[in-house]
């Protein structure tokens, strides 16, 4: 979330699309309701009339997977009716930038496309074709009148010209009347001083065009001036208690902690790596915050390797693993490689992929090909016990499995970070049950044992080195430490002093994540002592004199204490629910990201009542003389762009500080699938043509192709659109809710929701057990025949949609009859993220 949960109350219009917040983030509705009591409108756009829809002022149904068409139509409506915020759009977004001559869009393709040869990627673009024109200083050329035909604004207008209400309605199945009602209501937030917010979740990410669905809304938010303001923003409602933290700390192949880039093979030195990933702006008005990249990467290496990392060894840069430049190592790729017997050992740590991964049949078969697996969890589960799952003969499964009991969250101490980036400390209540242990203790002890083995090897003079494919390599006689095992340096040199009296100490790690001064350092005439905690990331250094395990958390645990444990319930002077002394938010305790866009060029808030920041410096003769901001921690904290008398300041800065040029990105030239979002049909879809272009599906989608990866589109065997979702009483694969009596009593079984019309068509009665099947598998479900689903009129035909929750699995309940919806879902995903398309696929529903 750019904003945070409480801030929803400040909104004038709340769009909930790709989310069913009332069901899945119930407490968020405390703030949706408060906003509504203050006059805000609530819009719910969803294929099904959900709990959220039941509270909404406007409900508009749409067919799964057609959100870009729906929102592209809104962009057109905003532009056609001049409802965009003109000052904001011209001054704060890249709408004024001039796009180079090579950019083009024709027949569903942007310029620079090459079809993929081997898969799983269907194709890729040469993004250099989409570059901006720059002047002789290297600054993008702009036309702030927005009239230049090659400006982003005009190209956008042209791009979305095709998205008429008629065409959009044909694609989405939403009535023209409903479309216009939504467009009109939401676009009203473009007025200066009004705020509209979007609450979305997996309903947007889980598509072959997921990233671009979100991007379409980002464009709308920029056009309406809704970024950075109270009650605005782009708000991803994250679904796991610490999925924000686990992302921040880079439990993802393509990142390092703090959103630093994963290292590629061509980044052969630390300098090459830093140069490659440090953006350079020539615009004096741009803060270009990522120019600090080397400070964060070097501080990270110091946290990884401590004293062993120094200038002479590139701070241990070469000890970290590197990905092939064109390689992908995502979730899909893991199970694809595992299925192809390329992976021997596997950790499923606090996760249940046998039920959570798309096309779980393939996942489960892949597990059979492992030599060993470690499964850490609170409960026995479908992943750890795959070897005695449905249809599996244990005597044929070689995989050794270690199942380790983890402690529950209330049995240990540590922090988690919520969707609004609030880091909050949790305390230990009871001791871990039985012989279970906190994950931290398990990790600490396991690595101690691994390290011991490598030490032992080194002490014994070492084994012969064995390289790839099991071939024996040469002994390394030069370096004593190098004698034990393969490349022992990173293991032996990893800083691993996180125990107190032999027990894992989360405070020690939290301090490491924050970072230390490793030498006496003087910054702006103030001396910071070696061994003290760094107050915030503006003080991190690129010379090895500071450490920080995750730079965005620098400031979370300082000499003033553990900021995440704070409980002061006093609000800030602007009284908009920031609660700046309650817990701690990254970055720098900033509660609303891009808050500098909530003020005009002179630093005055667009909204005087619900202001986020405002410039409070002194002035003399119409010029600012001192720099001071009130309210939230301001982005960057530089002077406003203009003086009170309207003259431009040379030291003023653009508000979007994390963007290279300082402008909000209406045109996104870094995306895999195009700088403007374009509607494509889901990989599996019910229509024979894309009404907007000759190209049916995202030409850059990733699609896997083993014998377990069957797909069926416009196939009479699978005539209905299927989607997955959650219910309030269960969580994710259900592993933390299915073993509980109360919650199981409330939601005991796998079900499929369908319209009365579809039920009549198939002769299905409410409550009957039915079979839902896709090209990949079948799952037994209890039929819920409901008015909540209605057939869609798409083109000249009728399209039915059904929905299944994905919380079940054969282990709990013990009948084994309630299986995972992910047995049905496809092995295809978004080209930017490789997130699977589990929200739109094709199924059949039949009586048993």
């Amino acid at each position: 979330m750019t904003n945070h949960w409480i801030d929803i109350k400040n909104s004038d219009c709340i769009l909930i699309m790709g989310s069913n917040a009332a069901e899945n983030h119930p407490i968020s509705f405390k703030y949706v309701t408060e906003a509504m009591q203050n006059g805000a409108k609530l819009i719910s756009v969803d294929p099904r009339f959900t709990k959220t829809s039941s509270k909404a002022d406007i409900y508009a149904p749409l067919r799964s997977g057609t959100d870009i068409a729906f929102l592209g139509g809104m962009i057109k409506y905003i532009l056609d009716n001049s409802l965009y915020n003109k000052e904001y759009t011209a001054e704060y977004t890249n709408a004024s930038f001039i796009v180079g001559k090579d950019f083009d869009f024709k027949d569903g393709f942007f310029s620079g496309y090459t079809k993929g040869k081997e898969g799983p990627s269907m194709g890729s673009y040469d993004k250099s074709k989409w570059a901006f024109e720059v002047d002789d200083k290297g600054i993008p050329k702009m036309d702030k009148t927005l009239e230049n035909p090659r400006s982003v604004f005009q190209l956008m207008k042209k791009h979305y010209e095709r998205y008429t209400p008629e065409i959009v309605s044909t694609i989405t199945g939403t009535s023209k009347e409903d479309l216009l009602k939504v467009y009109e209501t939401y676009s009203a937030t473009g007025k200066t001083g009004k705020a509209g917010t979007i609450m979305y979740a997996m309903g947007w990410t889980q598509h072959t065009v997921g990233t671009q669905m979100i991007r379409t809304m980002c464009i709308i938010q920029l056009l309406l001036g809704n970024m950075g303001v109270a009650g605005g923003g782009v708000n991803a409602l994250r679904g796991e208690s610490n999925v924000q933290g686990s992302t921040d700390h880079a439990l993802l192949w393509h990142l390092l902690p703090g959103y630093l880039k994963g290292i590629k093979a061509s980044n052969d030195t630390l300098t090459a790596y830093n140069t490659k990933w440090t953006p350079k702006s020539f615009d004096p008005l741009s803060i270009n915050w990522w120019q600090n990249y080397p400070k964060y990467s070097v501080s990270l290496l110091k946290s990884f390797f401590g004293d062993k990392a120094n200038k002479d060894n590139d701070f241990g840069f070469s000890w970290l693993p590197k990905a092939d430049d064109t390689g992908s190592y995502s979730w899909f790729d893991i199970f694809d490689a595992m299925y192809k017997e390329k992976i021997k050992g596997f950790f499923a740590w606090g996760q249940n992929p046998a039920c959570s991964g798309s096309n779980s049949t393939k996942t489960r078969k892949a597990l059979e090909k492992l030599e060993w697996m470690v499964n850490v969890n609170l409960f026995d589960n479908e992943t750890g016990s795959f070897w005695h799952g449905p249809g599996v003969d244990p005597s044929k499964v070689k995989t050794e499995v270690f199942m380790l009991p983890a402690a529950a969250s209330v049995e240990k101490e540590g922090s988690i970070i919520n969707s609004g980036r609030w880091m909050q400390w949790r305390y230990q209540g009871p001791k871990p049950m039985g012989d279970s242990r906190p994950d931290g203790d398990i990790i600490l002890e396991l690595f101690n044992k691994i390290k011991e083995l490598y030490h032992k090897d080194a002490a014994n003079g070492g084994n012969e080195k064995v390289g790839k494919n099991g071939k024996k390599g040469k002994k390394n006689k030069e370096n004593k430490v190098n004698k034990g095992g393969a490349f022992p340096e990173p293991i032996l040199n990893l800083k691993w002093d996180y125990a107190t009296n032999g027990i894992y100490d989360p405070h020690k790690v939290a301090k490491e994540i924050n970072g230390y001064f490793l030498e006496d350092v003087t910054i702006k005439d103030k001396q910071y002592k070696k061994g003290t905690l760094v107050p915030n990331f503006t003080m991190l250094q690129d010379n090895g004199s500071t450490s920080s395990g995750c730079w965005v958390y620098c400031g979370s645990y300082t000499e003033d204490g553990n900021m995440s444990a704070r409980k002061d319930t006093t609000d800030a002077p602007n009284n908009i629910g920031l609660y700046p002394k309650f817990a701690w938010a990254w970055p720098l305790n900033r509660r609303i990201i891009y808050n500098r866009a909530s003020v005009n060029a002179k630093g005055e808030p667009w909204n005087k009542d619900k202001w986020v920041v405002k410039f409070a410096g002194e002035q003399k003769d119409g010029k600012w003389t001192t720099n001071k901001w009130d309210g939230d921690v301001p982005d960057g904290g530089a002077f406003p762009l203009e003086n009170p008398d309207g003259t431009k300041r040379e030291d003023g800065k653009n508000p979007f500080i994390m963007q290279k040029d300082g402008y909000g990105q209406i045109y996104g030239s870094g995306l895999a699938d195009g700088p403007f979002p374009e509607h494509y049909e889901p990989l599996e879809c019910p229509v024979e043509k894309n009404y907007l272009s000759p190209q049916m599906t995202n030409p850059t989608a990733v699609v896997y192709s083993t014998s377990e990866d069957a797909h069926a589109t416009c196939d009479p065997r699978f005539p209905f659109v299927g989607t997955t979702y959650r219910v309030c009483e269960h969580w994710q694969t259900g592993l933390m809710t299915r073993p509980q009596a109360w919650l199981m009593e409330l939601q005991p079984q796998m079900f499929v929701e369908m319209s009365e019309e579809l039920a009549a068509l198939r002769g299905i009665k409410n409550g009957e057990r039915v079979k839902v099947s896709s090209a990949r598998a079948s799952v037994e479900c209890t039929a819920i025949v409901t008015k909540r689903f209605k057939p869609f009129k798409i083109g000249n035909g009728i399209v039915h949609q059904v929905g299944v929750p994905w919380h079940y699995g054969w282990m709990w309940p013990s009948s084994g009859a309630e299986e995972s919806a992910n047995l049905l879902t496809p092995s295809a995903g978004d080209p930017n993220t490789r997130i699977p398309e589990t929200k739109a696929f094709m199924v059949n529903v039949t009586k048993i």
Partner: protein, 191 residues
């Protein structure tokens, strides 16, 4: 009587319950009030944040300081600025997640081709996992890729998880995995 906010709520709700039954001809209020106090009076009180979705609601955990030392009750924290004491059905059931007879309470091992689990000690489990990691890593470690670029990695071990871990655990876990040379490092955020 010096009451903090929570005690005040408990006492007043007990009072309301007492009044409701006073029509029976005897006053249960003192008994009810005592029962309410018993629940938490001798318990350790800690705060937590809900382990389900990412709204980040606060809850109060009462743990027995006598007997088995287990959780007596978990309820919404009225002093938490986000949820102000409210919890959804999942959050209100955290006690049943923790105090659950289905929980794993000892390390288990399944041998190749076996049809059963066997209980093992932590030491045995971790030592054997460490050996597997080292064997696999040493046998598959790639110093260079097919293009001859230095990569220092193994692609024969993969990891998924976990958004259910604390920040500090996530950081420690990724540090371990990266030092081992894993590039197949993923978790819930990808799906």
């Amino acid at each position: 009587m010096d009451l903090n906010r929570r005690e005040f709520i408990q006492v007043t709700s007990a009072t309301a319950a007492g009044l409701a039954v006073s029509g029976l001809g005897f006053d249960l209020m003192p008994v009810k009030a005592h029962a309410q106090m018993l629940k938490t009076k001798y318990a350790k009180e800690t705060t937590t944040i809900c382990c389900y979705c990412a709204v980040g609601c606060g809850a109060i955990v009462h743990t027995s300081q006598r007997g088995d030392g287990r959780v007596i009750n978990i309820e919404g924290d009225p002093d938490h600025v986000i949820n102000r004491g409210a919890l959804c059905p999942k959050g209100a059931s955290i006690k049943q997640l923790v105090e659950n007879e289905n929980r794993l309470i000892r390390p288990m091992y399944r041998a190749p081709y076996s049809d059963k689990w066997q209980a093992v000690s932590w030491d045995w489990a971790l030592e054997n996992i460490a050996k597997k990691v080292k064997e696999t890593r040493d046998a598959t470690f790639e110093t260079k890729n097919s293009k001859g670029q230095v990569v220092n990695r193994t692609t024969a071990i993969a990891s998924v998880g976990s958004a259910a871990m604390d920040n500090e655990e996530c950081w420690t876990y990724q540090a371990m995995l990266r030092s081992l040379g894993l590039v197949y490092v993923e978790h819930q955020a990808r799906i």
